[in-house]
């Protein structure tokens, strides 16, 4: 059993909702990248989603676009991200790490080479925003190496496709709570609840809900019907401009701990 499955099994038996923070690797600064990951865990993260910066993040809103631009300007590439995961693993052998990003950096790195290096570094899964199930043949070397292929489902996903996604999902299924880009703020909880219930009924894998989760209150609302909550843009926004490891950890704690508490208080 891999780290992601172990973690969700543990959450389930404890009756807890998972918390999956997203941060862009190398933002607010490459020097604090590993400290940031540990800070996320200390503030209650169950899984870490680490964004691999890309120059053309088509599905992301301004907050994550700018985080990517800042990281790229500081020279952050896929190799750095893998290095940080390896360093993180020296002190944390249990928290699953999922790399989230776009296909081109991996395509250029080489799928075989990436698969080997990612497993060595301690990466558990990948979520490639611009690689839908239909195009995922290219990811065969990643799956063969044991990396979970995290898939997305959306409100616009047709029923027949949804059953394909549910059957193919590994690790967890990431349900995008509305049709839009990351960081936008529209959320009708009742609407999402009904759809997520449907997805959970079909998917073997746990269902994480994201896109538009901004704070403890919205996270708590989603926790009622999801296995885990993903929280990204609002956190990335909070971290921008942090100047030291302590500053990073302080901001993470101030933002994430109330979310953790809200999820656990349910």
């Amino acid at each position: 059993m891999n780290r992601i499955d172990r973690r969700f099994a543990a959450l389930k038996s404890a009756g807890r909702t998972g918390l999956i923070p997203f941060v862009t690797a190398g933002d607010p600064s490459p020097e604090h990248a590993v400290a940031l990951m540990h800070a996320l865990v200390e503030s209650g993260a169950d899984v870490i989603e680490l964004g691999v910066p890309f120059s053309d993040p088509m599905a992301d809103g301004p907050v994550i676009q700018h985080a990517s631009e800042r990281a790229i300007a500081k020279g952050v590439g896929l190799g750095d991200v893998l290095g940080w995961v390896a360093e993180f693993r020296r002190r944390d052998a249990d928290t699953p790490v999922v790399l989230m990003g776009y296909l081109n950096p991996i395509e250029i790195h080489g799928y075989e080479r990436f698969a080997t290096e990612a497993v060595q570094a301690g990466v558990d899964g990948v979520l490639l925003v611009d690689c839908p199930l239909e195009e995922s043949e290219v990811l065969a070397p990643l799956r063969a190496a044991g990396l979970a292929q995290i898939l997305l489902a959306a409100p616009t996903t047709a029923p027949d496709r949804l059953s394909k996604l549910c059957a193919a999902a590994e690790g967890f299924l990431y349900y995008v709570s509305f049709a839009g880009i990351t960081g936008a703020a529209r959320l009708s909880t009742t609407d999402i609840a009904a759809r997520v219930a449907d997805v959970r009924a079909h998917a073997k894998a746990p269902v994480a809900v994201g896109f538009g989760v901004r704070d403890a209150e919205s996270a708590k609302a989603i926790a009622g019907f999801a296995d885990a909550v993903v929280i990204g843009s609002a956190l990335v926004e909070r971290l921008a401009g942090a100047v030291s490891s302590e500053d990073v950890a302080g901001r993470v704690a101030a933002f994430l701990q109330p979310v953790r508490k809200a999820l656990d208080a349910r």
Binding site: P53, F54, S55, D56, P57, M58, A59, G61, P62, Q65, H66, E69, I72, G77, L78, G79, Y102, L103, N104, P105, I106, E107, I108, H109, V129, D130, C131, P132, E134, E135, L151, L152, A153, A154, T156, T157, A158, R161, V176, A179, G180, I181, A184
Partner: protein, 403 residues
């Protein structure tokens, strides 16, 4: 790659041209793309739709465009005859209208009320604003802030046509970023919005659909050549940014193996300087804007900033069908520098009285080079994809002239 028998058999049902093309998009776009694919594949077979499109192309766009023998240019060069397919004479002054007229009709058939588009040089934005005005649809055009600065006339034309022009300030502030932003708008507003992509890039079915709407250029030219010259040309040339005018000219000739095909990419300040936009000549296979194709990127996979004097060629990717034609050995893609394009612009102006767009001037420069390779009775057919009025200020500024 195995030998290709029929180039007209591509793309396949997944939108693939060999290893290129496909649909590399976020999950939220899969359903709208499926809806569009279904609608378009039905309409392209529908005689009523085809008749409607033909009427618009004849009476609104002004087709067919002539094939013009550039006699003084030919004499000046001293090689094969240079023929120009005059897409610059279309309504709005470029080939782009062929595609927007078609996509706007598709939008109307799908019941969409809002049109969005991305634009580099502004030609596609103008062509989109034009058809939106004609059909009474709301129109929003995304344009890089850098391009807005260098294409002020076209920005104003779009506004006169009732479109809203939204400056894009992310990334390199050019065409690729405008495309990202339009994609984000589409993801957010799919219910009522139709995204008119201006080139043969993007996810399936765009490379197919945009090619189909531009393929009228080559179909007409092929017939015109046979009628007027009794033969096919020796060689075709066209400029390639995203590649829509080029595939438009090339497509009808792809199975005529005796016709050589050469695409002219923007070599900017020279490919060796790194300041260029020659994705096929100097790039590598990658994934950008929803399709696998040749891209310009660094070893981390980050898309690199491109340079060309012409905003319309300033794009780090290229249509997947061109990538396929390159790898299949059916077409060659070569670089033409800024300086060569400007020289060709002046040469055509003085020998033929035609101000070509800076994009098209790259094709003219390549046509001149090719004409020298063939005997005097040879034929070089060059797509003059757009007129140069929009570029007059850029050229004046570059040459230190106050207008």
């Amino acid at each position: 790659m195995p030998e290709i028998r029929d180039f007209h058999a591509f793309p396949d049902a997944q939108g693939r041209f060999g290893q290129f093309g496909g649909s590399y998009v976020a999950e939220t776009l899969m359903a709208p793309l499926a809806e569009l694919t279904e609608a378009y594949l039905r309409l392209r077979q529908d005689p009523a739709f085809i008749a409607e499109l033909d009427r618009d192309l004849t009476h609104y766009v002004g087709r067919p465009s002539p094939v013009y023998f550039a006699e003084r240019l030919t004499r000046h060069v001293g090689g094969a005859r240079i023929l120009l397919k005059r897409e610059d004479l279309n309504h709005t002054g470029a080939h782009k209208i062929n595609n927007t007229v078609g996509q706007a009709l598709v939008a109307r058939h799908m019941g969409k009320t809002r049109i969005i588009a991305e634009t580099g040089a502004g030609q596609h934005g103008v062509a989109s604003a034009t058809v939106a005005a004609r059909l009474g649809l709301q129109c929003v055009v995304y344009m890089g802030a850098t391009d807005i600065e260098r294409q002020k006339i076209n920005v104003y034309r779009m506004k006169l046509l009732g479109a809203e022009v939204v400056p894009v300030t992310s990334g390199s502030k050019t065409l690729k970023d405008a495309l990202n932003e339009a994609m984000r708008d589409w993801v957010t507003n799919v219910a009522d919005t139709f995204y008119i992509i201006g080139t043969v890039a993007g996810p399936h079915p765009y490379p197919l659909m945009v090619r189909d709407f531009n393929a009228i250029v080559g179909r007409e030219a092929r017939t015109q050549l046979l009628e007027q010259y009794g033969r096919l040309p020796d060689v075709l040339t066209a400029c390639v940014g995203g590649g829509s005018n080029a595939i438009g000219l090339f497509h009808a000739f792809l199975n005529d193996r005796e016709v050589r095909i050469v695409g002219a990419e923007a070599a900017g300040e020279g490919i060796a300087t790194g300041h260029h936009a020659a994705s096929l000549a100097a790039g590598r296979p990658g994934v950008l804007h929803g399709n696998r194709t040749y891209v310009l990127c660094d070893d981390d996979g980050q898309i690199t900033e491109t340079h060309s004097v012409s905003a319309g060629l300033d794009y780090p990717g290229v249509g997947p069908e061109h990538a396929f034609l390159k790898d299949a050995g059916r077409a060659d893609y070569v670089g033409v520098t800024d300086d060569e394009a400007l020289e060709a612009f002046h040469l055509l102006a003085r020998t033929e009285g035609i101000l070509a767009a800076l994009e098209s001037s790259h094709a003219v420069a390549q046509a001149v080079k090719l004409a020298r390779e063939y005997p005097k009775d040879g034929i070089v057919l060059c797509n003059l994809s757009g007129r140069g009025d929009k570029d007059v200020h850029t050229i004046a500024a570059r040459e230190g002239v106050q207008v």
